[in-house]
């Protein structure tokens, strides 16, 4: 079974709305990261949040981490059509030096 699982699997919203994606994981982590993948492209790193942090911001992105619930959320505010992509959370598990990815959330932002 996967370490990280995102929900929803797919999200469709209008431009200007906020988009929230959630990620749950199973084991202790060093940090959790969010990546974006545009169709037919590689993954782009968005934001990293360490296990001792609870919230982090980067532009229109806000990430929260709740280690007691083993969950994280990614909020994109004032979404744009260009935000249409798949979003993946990835967990850096203590001592393993590798990222384990969830299955992703496909976000579609309609003009």
């Amino acid at each position: 079974s996967q370490q990280g699982e995102e929900d929803p699997q797919a999200l469709s919203i209008q431009e200007g709305e906020n988009a929230t994606m959630n990620c749950s994981y199973k084991t202790s982590i060093n940090n959790l990261q969010w990546y974006r993948q545009n169709s037919g492209r590689g993954l782009v790193h968005l934001i990293l949040i360490r296990s001792n942090e609870r919230e982090k911001h980067s532009g229109r992105l806000r990430v929260t981490l709740d280690t007691s619930k083993k969950s994280s959320s990614l909020l994109i505010t004032a979404s744009r059509a260009a935000d249409t992509a798949s979003y993946f959370c990835a967990t850096d598990i203590s001592g393993y030096n590798k990222l384990i990815f969830g299955a992703g959330t496909r976000l579609a932002v309609h003009p």
């Binding site: 990261q33 590689g42 850096d92 030096n97």
Partner: protein, 114 residues
């Protein structure tokens, strides 16, 4: 200049053939990875090399053989290709330190086995 570059981007080949995908990073990183993304977009780590040494091998069939001639290159050779090997293969790199393991990905190599 592309930070992590991999070639070829597209590869169509017949079952049973042997093929290679090359990867190079110019970020000065000490760790490189191969990930496989299947048709459901699920990303799974295959291998990781740190300073040319294999540190992660995720139960990948031995038809897959990574080779790291130096820490800036990690190539993937696949023998006796099977239909199930069709996927997108991503090379990635990072520097492992206490600040976090941010990984930089290449654009992917689309492998189709027919």
């Amino acid at each position: 200049d592309t930070a992590v570059s991999q070639t070829p981007k597209y590869l169509v080949t017949q079952m049973g053939n042997d093929k290679s995908i090359k990867c190079e990073q110019n970020l000065g990183h000490d760790t490189m990875y191969w990930y496989k993304q299947d048709s459901k977009k699920f990303l799974k780590i295959m291998f990781s090399y740190n300073n040319k040494e294999l540190i992660i091998n995720e139960t990948v069939p031995n038809r897959f053989s990574p080779k790291s001639p130096d820490k800036a290159h990690l190539n993937l050779h696949i023998n006796s290709l099977e239909l199930g090997d069709s996927a997108v293969y991503f090379c990635a790199s990072t520097t492992i330190d206490n600040s976090g393991n941010t990984i930089y990905f290449g654009e992917g190599s689309w492998l189709t086995v027919v």
